[in-house]
């Protein structure tokens, strides 16, 4: 069978002992071959005899039928011809001998079916598993287990107050997929001893479970027709660990590890049953593969010719098998080391379930096989090959791609950790604390750090798809602009290092495809595959884009969709799809003239389209404050940075790990909603904002700003671990928003905050001015009477002479364009014609 027990050669009764190097544990001497020397006083009763009814299948000469073997995979009652599907994932446990631990003889048939008499205990060799008890326990578990608090997606649509697994069995009878996934944590909470046995002796216990399930199932649904018998697939063994912590102790135990698929092999057909035909009399016989070996019958039983049997490949039975290489996921690794890889074998229907790049949780049995590569040599390389026979796959990123919401990879927090986090949250100054813990090496810039902190927490995700509006963006986007050398990049780097799913790109180096997705030929499968870019990769994270201004226009246009709709549409090489890109964007831009010009507006300084700018919730300027007290503090901070020891620093600031956990916890568990007062406060704030402008005839706030305010307020509530958004949150959101506006949307000509700078790219006064010039020009032309055409340069000079304010060439051209738009005139080369 599957457990690749390598060599047919070798004098030893190759057995499980070979498949599983004994690691100081007491199993491993397990050897079911008939020539086993010292079987303990086993009362060789064929307890399993009623089970072996499928005689045609087992009529082959089985050398090793010991009386005391239980045929683990054969069903007991009421199967109605549903064929058994072999379980190569469990290895060679089909025939496990039972031993009696006590010397008293058990009553002949009572071992499996009936209650055990006290004092006698029949167990499978090498374990402490008693088939009967085990089966009974598991049936009881299936029939009684209820988990009212379950919130697993798999259990959607099930009545939580009814026995969970009975409902699943019902599902099987309807759908006809004969696989029962069992959550090990359920087993543990129901029966800790059963759970221990399952973990320690999976290859004996799981077949027992199979038996139990099938009995139960066909009792309940005697008429169902299944492709093969139900197989139990346990998952989520609580011993979930990362690859690094696997050690020899885990061999032959059931484990759950997480990792990323890096390679999958072609499908490998593995022989399960060999078909032999006699060359003389055409008598045929079948031989099962036993631990990787086929015992070729030497004599034909029909005609007694020796060595006349030939293997017929076409009629032999094969099962599918696939090798998968799994690599440690980057989050689990200690810094400075390379990731480990493990070989995993998938069998039957688990083949091709995963693709390279998938992040998965694997439940399976850990195996180690010695390498005896050359049978002619007596020396053996003293190394074992290890692999995992997979029982259950679970993709961890599945929901990210298909599902609607919520992070699937919930980080598990220990009780103490949650406690410390909550204590921290209860402190009144938690907001300030956290913001100052952000990038401590960067000096001050309090408001910017606060903004970024709120971005890290994000708003609450809302779904309005029923009302036709679709998802509301919950992510906060921030743009930092300012003089070069004001540690913008450093801030970006810090954020990128802080968040689990961050991406860092530079506008200069990245193209539209690098940001979104591109189609490439996979070198291995030669198929076209979609390679996702930074924006998609940072789904649910933060995408840091440095040198935003250096980005090409086509690249930037991609961002429009991402930053508001949070999706990414792709139509390339026959692949048309829409990917989720619920990413927050943290961008940094330098002014065009390398130094920020305070006489110009933000738009003029960074030359970004206003359509894009209006999608940023907060735009901060990072300028040199030029103030003595600030300089002094800055100098002190920097000098300290250079000589303070690590400990001193740690005293002052929060640990980065704590901050990470705090954010992860809040993002996962806290979903604040607006309360009544907060809504009122938001409405007021919005109305106020609109009022400011209306006095001067301009609009100073748009619904987008209101949405920003809501997001910021929600994020602030998250910082406090509060489920309600209260007025304090709104106040802070207002303050921060105002601060950012004050910096970025102040009209340098008037000194007023003017939101239209960001929304239309031009301040209201500038627009008014433009109109005035156009009118003046029109008036001037009209005053000249009916002249069909005039010289461009002359007109410009005339206008300049006439106007009292200085008129630049730009302004003149703009005025001309405005008049051309009115269909009043047209400009051709150096002449201006009236229409």
């Amino acid at each position: 069978m599957s457990s690749p027990t390598s060599t047919p050669v070798g004098s030893k009764p190759s057995s499980d002992g070979l498949a599983s190097p004994p690691s100081q544990r007491r199993r491993g001497q397990d050897s079911s071959n008939g020539d086993l020397p010292a079987m303990p006083t086993s009362p060789a009763t064929d307890i399993a005899s009623p089970a072996v009814h499928d005689t045609s299948l087992f009529s082959s000469p089985r050398r090793s039928v010991l009386p005391s073997e239980v045929d683990m995979s054969s069903p007991l009652i009421g199967v109605r011809g549903t064929p058994v599907r072999q379980r190569p994932d469990l290895g060679s446990a089909r025939k496990a001998p039972q031993v009696d631990l006590h010397t008293e003889l058990p009553s002949a048939d009572g071992a499996v079916a009936s209650e055990q008499a006290a004092g006698q205990k029949l167990v499978i060799w090498g374990t402490d598993v008693n088939v009967g008890t085990c089966k009974e326990k598991f049936q009881r578990f299936l029939q009684r287990f209820i988990d009212p608090t379950s919130n697993e997606d798999e259990n959607a649509g099930l009545d939580l107050n009814e026995p969970l697994y009975m409902q699943k069995l019902e599902e099987i009878s309807v759908i006809g997929e004969p696989v029962l996934n069992v959550n090990c944590s359920h087993v543990q909470s129901f029966d800790a001893d059963l759970y221990r046995q399952l973990i320690s002796y999976p290859q004996e216990v799981i077949p027992t479970f199979d038996m139990a399930v099938n009995e139960l199932f066909f009792e309940r649904f005697p008429d169902s027709i299944l492709e093969h018998q139900i197989q139990v697939r346990p998952y989520n063994a609580l011993k979930t660990r990362n690859m690094r912590s696997l050690n020899p102790e885990d061999i032959d135990q059931m484990i759950t590890i997480s990792g990323m698929v890096i390679r999958t092999s072609q499908l490998i057909p593995e022989m399960q049953e060999a078909f032999f035909q006699c060359q003389v009399c055409a008598f045929s016989t079948r031989v099962e593969v036993d631990r990787g070996r086929i015992a070729e019958p030497a004599v034909c039983r029909n005609c007694n010719t020796t060595h006349s049997l030939a293997l017929i490949h076409n009629r032999s039975a094969f099962s599918d098998k696939q090798m998968i290489k799994v690599q440690e996921s980057p989050d689990d690794m200690p810094a400075g080391q390379t990731p480990h890889t493990t070989i995993v074998y998938a069998h039957n229907d688990l083949v091709d379930k995963v693709q390279p790049g998938d992040r998965i949780n694997i439940t399976g049995i850990y195996r180690a096989v010695p390498m005896r590569e050359n049978p002619r040599q007596s020396t053996v390389k003293s190394v074992y090959k290890t692999h995992i026979d997979v029982i259950h796959f679970r993709k961890t990123d599945e929901k990210r791609l298909h599902g609607l919401d919520e992070d699937s990879d919930q980080k598990l927090f220990t009780e103490e950790r949650v406690q410390t986090l909550k204590e921290l949250a209860a402190k009144p100054d938690v907001y300030e604390r956290l913001s100052s813990a952000l990038a401590p090496s960067i000096y001050e810039q309090e408001d910017i750090k606060k903004g970024i902190l709120l971005q890290l927490f994000g708003g609450t995700r809302k779904d309005f798809s029923q009302t036709g509006r679709g998802n509301f963006r919950a992510e906060v986007n921030i743009l930092l602009c300012g003089d070069p050398g004001t540690s913008k990049s450093q801030l970006l780097q810090y954020v990128f290092n802080l968040v689990p799913r961050g991406q860092y790109t530079s506008g200069k180096g990245s193209s539209a495809v690098g940001l979104t997705a591109y189609v490439m030929k996979d070198p291995e499968t030669k198929q076209l595959v979609l390679q996702t870019g930074a924006l998609v990769l940072s789904d649910n994270g933060i995408c840091c884009i440095d040198e935003f201004d250096k980005m090409s226009d086509s690249t930037r246009s991609v961002l429009h969709e991402v930053m508001e709709q949070q999706t990414l549409s792709i139509a390339k090489a026959g692949i048309i799809c829409q990917l989720n890109a619920r990413t927050s964007v943290l961008a940094a831009a330098n002014p065009v003239e390398s130094q920020w010009n305070p006489k110009k507006t933000t738009i003029e300084n960074i030359q970004l389209p206003h359509t894009l700018l209006s999608r940023f919730d907060l735009i901060f300027l990072m300028l040199d404050p030029q103030d003595e007290a600030y300089d002094r503090r800055l100098a002190h901070h920097l000098v300290a940075l250079y000589y303070q020891s690590e400990e001193q620093i740690e005293e002052e600031f929060l640990d980065m790990a704590v901050l990470k956990d705090y954010i992860a916890y809040a993002r996962t568990y806290i979903n604040p909603r607006l309360n009544e007062e907060a809504s009122q406060a938001l409405i007021e704030a919005y109305v106020d904002m609109r009022k400011i402008g209306s006095g001067r005839g301009m609009v100073s706030a748009y619904p987008r700003q209101l949405e920003s305010l809501i997001r910021l307020a929600e994020a602030h509530a998250k910082v406090r671990f509060s489920d309600k958004v209260e007025t304090v949150d709104v106040e802070e959101a207002k303050r921060l928003h105002r601060e950012a506006l004050k910096q970025s949307a102040t009209d340098p000509r008037t000194g007023f905050v003017d939101i239209s700078i960001l929304t239309t790219g031009m301040s209201a006064t500038a627009r008014k001015r433009k109109e005035e010039v156009a009118q003046a020009l029109k008036k001037m032309i009209q005053s000249r009477g009916k002249i069909p055409a005039m010289k461009y340069q002359q007109l410009f000079d005339d206008l300049r002479g006439q106007s009292e304010a200085a008129i630049t060439k730009d302004m003149f051209e703009e005025a001309l364009r405005a008049l051309a738009d009115e269909d009043y005139l047209t400009v051709t080369g150096k002449t201006v014609r009236l229409l």
């Binding site: 390598s6 390498m371 050398g485 980065m656």
Partner: protein
């Protein structure tokens, strides 16, 4: 020399004896380590152990104790092996317990089903000699180690040549020194023979590298690569660590045979084997004659690989340091004078170059590496001046590499290590360097043309290296960040296209008609003892501790505020960062471990000089940014 060298010649005997005594008490493992550590602690004893770096592999006895100075290039997956196993004697049927630790293969007749078998775990590291190790460092460690090699039959005859002489050879023909077998020695046959020994060592692997890629980070590197089996303290090792490993050499030919002769019928039945691609086989089980196995008994992390300095922080070293500190100022003056000559009489540039050479990332604050000091020497004369400059730098530092940034190399060279999933190994790149390696980026080689996508990636990688002192290794599904500590020196005509901490336009005071000759003469004028002093000085200054007193902190703050008062544009936070680094390096270069007011003023002063020079350059060139 002690009479018994059993622990060097037959370390396995020692291990087995201890195992036999232990009665399967697991403490024996610790005892073994303790024993070897103790032996190595003894004075001089580590110099008795032959080094894989110096002695050709075929001269070393199998299963003897050897040492290897190396860089951890890749870490393979952990493997399980039989720590203890039982063998059955076919004639007597007696069972014997055996120890499988520190061995690759087992004895005959293993009882695979024995219940006494203990499975244990170990990990394999792929180690290569320290990339870019300067010829002089190799030479000196070779000479000092080769004094006594009791466990080999190999007697190097090289020590007859004084290394003074070697140095001179190297200086005049450094290129040729790298390929010693082509070295044209006119001194007759005896000399010829002597150089033969090390060259045979270096050619052994290189001959075969055509079949087998030994995965050295830098092109043109030579030397033995080694698979090191690590048993203890797996977590304490990191990729790119430089280590001196003491371990048992295993070159069992079985390892090779096992890998190659394979019965195809077995492959069918043994799917585990067939799963390994041939590439993976080659990468993980290369023939032992090319890539020996080394079973680690003891490893010492190296702070530096300068053979002139005691390598471990022992009492030895502190005595050495304090004795050298006295000389420090004078050596500095001499070195400065030397560098000034080399930089065509430009004293300021020489000062900055000196500071650059002793810089070191001493700590990191969140993402910010502190202490890095990337220097951009702009205005370098063309025509192989930079090449000569590199050769001089190479003579001073123990590890260096010159990356000529021509368009072709930038487009074609692999700088960033990349994981090859087919062979399951980390394919090295030129940026996988040991700590404190001097990376010399020669931008004068850059010509007009277009960078392709890999060129852009390479430039980005260099930029990241300079700004953050990290390299993002390419794991194809994700990138992984590895912090590094590399001194980058950029030489360019104009301002470099790469970021740098500090740009110094070179202002030559002399224009020698024949540059080549000029530099050679300067170099020849230095005695080797002098050069050695410089070498010690540069390595030592880097390791000194440094602090700033509160008083000076205050002064610095005041100064900063004053400077900003006059003209806020003139000094930014960035400038303060730089000045603090300059002040630190300046103090260290003088052997002072605290910043004094004078030190600060000096730092300010030279920074002013430098800035005025760049301003000048700007106004001269007009459009130069």
């Amino acid at each position: 020399m002690p009479s018994s060298h059993d622990w060097i010649n037959k370390p396995l005997g020692v291990v087995e004896a201890m195992f036999a005594q232990s009665n399967s008490n697991p403490e024996w493992e610790a005892k073994v380590l303790e024993y070897f550590k103790g032996q190595l602690k003894e004075k001089e004893s580590h110099s008795w152990v032959p080094s894989l770096n110096d002695v050709p592999l075929h001269y070393l006895k199998p299963n003897s104790l050897v040492k290897f100075r190396c860089l951890v290039q890749d870490m393979f997956d952990p493997e399980f092996y039989m720590g203890v196993y039982e063998t059955v004697d076919p004639s007597t049927k007696a069972n014997v317990l055996r120890c499988g630790k520190y061995k690759d293969v087992t004895e005959c007749g293993v009882d695979l089903n024995s219940r006494n078998t203990v499975t244990a775990e170990r990990q394999t590291f792929y180690c290569v000699p320290i990339p870019g190790e300067s010829p002089w460092a190799k030479e000196i460690s070779f000479l000092s180690a080769a004094r006594v090699v009791p466990s080999t039959s190999y007697v190097p005859s090289r020590q007859k040549r004084s290394y003074e002489e070697d140095d001179d050879d190297m200086d005049t023909q450094p290129q040729k020194q790298r390929e010693p077998h082509t070295e044209p020695h006119g001194n007759g046959d005896s000399k010829r023979q002597e150089t033969e020994a090390p060259s045979s060592q270096t050619t052994t692997p290189s001959d075969c590298s055509s079949h087998l890629d030994l995965n050295f980070p830098l092109p043109g590197e030579r030397g033995p690569a080694c698979l090191v089996k690590v048993y203890e303290g797996l977590d304490s090792f990191k990729l790119n660590d430089t280590l001196e490993i003491y371990g048992i050499l295993s070159v069992n030919p079985v390892l090779t045979v096992l890998g190659e002769e394979k019965d195809p019928s077995l492959l069918l039945l043994n799917p585990t084997e067939s799963m390994e691609t041939p590439e993976e086989q080659r990468a993980h089980d290369p023939p032992a004659s090319l890539v020996p196995r080394l079973h680690m008994l003891y490893a010492r992390p190296l702070q530096h690989n300068n053979p002139l300095l005691p390598s471990a922080p022992t009492e030895d070293q502190s005595a050495f340091v304090s004795s050298f500190l006295v000389e420090m100022a004078s050596v500095r003056a001499e070195l400065l004078a030397y560098l000034t000559h080399v930089l065509l009489g430009d004293g300021l540039a020489a000062e900055y170059l000196l500071l650059h050479l002793i810089s070191d990332v001493y700590t990191r604050r969140d993402v910010l590496p502190l202490g890095k000091f990337t220097l951009n020497l702009s205005g370098c004369p063309l025509n192989s001046y930079t090449e000569r400059l590199y050769q001089i730098v190479q003579q001073l530092v123990p590890c260096s590499y010159r990356l000529s940034m021509s368009l072709h190399t930038m487009n074609s060279m692999r700088l960033v290590p990349k994981k090859d999933y087919v062979a399951n190994r980390l394919v090295s790149g030129a940026l996988q360097l040991a700590r404190n390696t001097s990376l010399f980026l020669d931008e004068t080689q850059l010509e007009q043309g277009q960078l392709d996508s890999s060129g852009v990636r390479n430039i980005t990688a260099l930029g990241n290296l300079i700004s953050w002192q990290k390299v993002d290794y390419d794991f194809s599904y994700h990138q992984m960040e590895f912090p590094c500590n590399i001194n980058v020196l950029v030489t360019s005509e104009g301002r470099s296209l790469l970021p740098s901490d500090c740009q110094v336009p070179l202002q030559p005071q002399v224009t020698p008609p024949n540059m080549e000759e000029y530099l050679t003469t300067i170099h020849m004028a230095q005695f080797t003892s002098q050069i050695n002093k410089f070498r010690v000085y540069l390595s030592l200054a880097r390791t000194l501790d440094y602090s700033i007193s509160d008083e000076v902190t205050k002064a610095v703050e005041d100064d900063f505020v004053d400077m900003r008062k006059d003209d806020p544009q003139s000094v930014t936070a960035e400038d303060l960062h730089r000045m603090l680094v300059v002040a630190r390096l300046l103090s260290l270069s003088l052997g002072q471990t605290t910043l004094s007011r004078d030190g600060w003023m000096r730092a300010k002063h030279i920074d002013m000089l430098r800035r005025s020079r760049t301003e000048q350059q700007k106004s001269l060139n007009g459009n130069e940014p």
